[in-house]
Every structure is written in C-alpha cells, then in structure tokens.
C-alpha cells in the first residue's frame, strides 16, 4: 500500500536489492547475507558513525540523493531508508 502511495512499483524490487548490496558494501566484517529489507541496520554490531557517513556518501554517489543524518536516525529498517532514497531519486 505504501509502495503504491509513493508510486514505487514492482520494478523497483531489483533496485532495493541493489540498494541493499550497496549498503552492505559499506561494512567490512558483517556478512552481506545478513542484510534484508527488514534489517534494523542501526542495531548491527559493526554500525558506527563512520559507516553512517559512508552510507550518506554512497547514496550521493550512486543515487545522486543527499541524505541527512536525520534521515538515518529516523529510519529503522533498510526498507525505511530505501523509501527515502527512492522518493528523492
């Protein structure tokens, strides 16, 4: 329902996987297989301020979207963050 509201259709399912892969690439010690749409990324052991900055830089580079620290702080799951990026891209 939320997806419909934001005009995000099924073809974006590829994109969220792409987004999750890019997100996972910012980590060095966490298995990429641990990252799912519903993963609460701020609860991952390796999560740090450096990784938060890296995610902001990655999103800027890959999607040309400027995330704010607040976007990261208010997102719980990877899907929450993906929706913010998808809306602005």
């Amino acid at each position: 329902m939320l997806c419909l509201l934001f005009g995000i259709n099924k073809s974006n399912s590829m994109d969220i996987n792409h987004f999750i892969a890019n997100f996972a690439a910012q980590f060095d010690d966490t298995d990429p297989g641990n990252f799912k749409t519903e993963t609460k990324f701020r609860e991952i052991d390796e999560w740090s301020s450096l990784i938060a900055l890296s995610v902001i830089a990655m999103v800027d580079e890959e999607y040309d979207v400027k995330l704010k620290g607040e976007d990261i702080r208010t997102s719980q799951t990877l899907n929450d963050l993906y929706l913010i990026v998808a809306l602005r891209s």
Partner: protein
C-alpha cells in the same frame, strides 16, 4: 605607559571577515584601536560586519580570493599592513573511501590556496611592514585530533600550519612574525551547517572540559598574537580547545 596589548595605530587585513571567527575578530580588533580592511565574498554580510566596527578609517572589499587579477588590483591600492589574519575557511565531511578530487579542490581552494595566494602577493608587493604579525586560523584538526570524515579539512589546515612555519622562518629577517591559532569546536555559523542535531552537539561538547568555544575566544588570542606583546613569538601553534586535548 603604552599598553603592549593594544592594536592602536595598526592597519590589519582580515580575510573571511563576513562570518564567524573572521567577523568577530574584525569587530574585536577595531575595539582595540586597529584600522581594519575587511575582505569576504558576501557583500551583505561584509557590510553587516563593517557596521559593527568601532572607530574610523576601516575599509571593505568584496573579493573572491581565488580570482588573481581582482586580488592583484586590490593589493596595488592597499595601504601597508601591520597585521594580517587569514580566516577564510570552509568545511566538508566525507569518509576517505569516497573522497574525490573535486571535494579536495573545493576545500583547499578556500582554506589553503586563497589565503596563501594573497599572502604571496602581499609580500611581493611589499605591503607588509617590518615588525608586522601574520596569523592563520588553523585547527586542532591540523595533526592534533582526528575525527572520522574530516580528512580533507584536516589536510587543508595541516597544509596551512606547515606553510606558516616556513613563512615564519623566511619572514624573520624582517621581524615579521607568523603564528597559527588552532581552535577546536567553536559556536559559529559553520558549525550550524554541519549535519548534526542539537543533542549530538551537546553530547560532543561534553568532551571539552570548558565546553565549546565562542568566536570571541579565538579573536582575543588572535589579538594577542597581533599585538606587540608577542613581538618575540613566531612559528607557534596556539591550541584553543577548552581542554579537549588534555584527556
């Protein structure tokens, strides 16, 4: 008896005078009797600074320090200086893995090249009096304290501090003194531009035994280095960090 800490009769050029540390330094220097030449890129904000100066005979020049022709012409018509304060500066947060050449160029243009280009011209046009004092606003990021995401800014301020050492040596025969102040976090508009929330700043401020600084805390140290009270001080790095590096 003459007050060695006074700036009376001194003409002082201040770059980056439209905001933050540059603005406050200009105002405080004028209170101590200096004639100020203000430069900056934003006309409106520079005029606001001008309006807050005490005394007469100040000058204002809207100038992009990266445009050499404009800077040359400005310097030709400038009176001789007893002090220069290089405050022009900017910040960029980016993890090292993502740094691109254009990010580096942007920060270095403002923090390093703009300031040293005008310094070269001032010296070659003999606009700096014997016994004058040059002060650079460096940072504790210049090789003292590392923060994640701060590599480009740190490198630019480190470049300034290193440059200042050599300048101090080269200018010593003229008794021109060159020093740096190295502030930690200071409450300026630049800080508000950082992408952090109020509560995060409050938490960060706890690392500073005396809390964050204010622009006037930096200005007073700059004044000390501009005044004749420090006529034997050159090549120094004055750390202004409210005790952060004690721990």
């Amino acid at each position: 008896m003459d007050n060695p800490f006074s700036l009376k009769g001194k003409t002082i050029l201040i770059t980056g005078a439209s905001s933050g540390i540059g603005k406050t330094t200009s105002i405080e220097c004028s209170k101590l009797g200096a004639k100020i030449i203000l430069t900056g890129r934003n006309t409106k904000r520079l005029e606001e600074t001008m309006a807050l100066l005490t005394g007469e005979g100040h000058q204002l020049k809207v100038l992009d320090l990266n445009i050499s022709e404009a800077v040359s012409e400005f310097i030709e018509n400038m009176p001789k200086l007893d002090g220069v304060v290089y405050c022009a500066g900017t910040q960029r947060t980016c993890p090292i893995k993502f740094i691109q050449r254009e990010d580096i160029d942007k920060v270095f243009e403002t923090n390093f090249f703009a300031n040293i280009n005008i310094n070269t011209l001032l010296l070659s046009k003999k606009k700096i009096n014997k016994g004058a004092s040059i002060v650079f606003i460096s940072s504790i990021a210049a090789g003292i304290v590392a923060e994640v995401g701060n590599a480009i800014y740190s490198a630019s301020k480190g470049a300034l501090s290193s440059y200042a050492k050599v300048l101090a040596l080269e200018m010593s025969s003229q008794r021109i003194r060159v020093n740096c102040v190295l502030p930690g976090m200071v409450n300026t508009p630049l800080l508000k531009k950082l992408d952090v929330e109020e509560d995060q700043l409050k938490e960060d401020e706890k690392r500073y035994p005396l809390g964050y600084g204010n622009p006037e805390d930096v200005a007073y140290s700059v004044i000390y280095l501009l005044s004749d009270a420090t006529k034997w001080v050159t090549g120094s790095n004055l750390i202004l960090d409210g005790g952060l590096t004690l721990k």
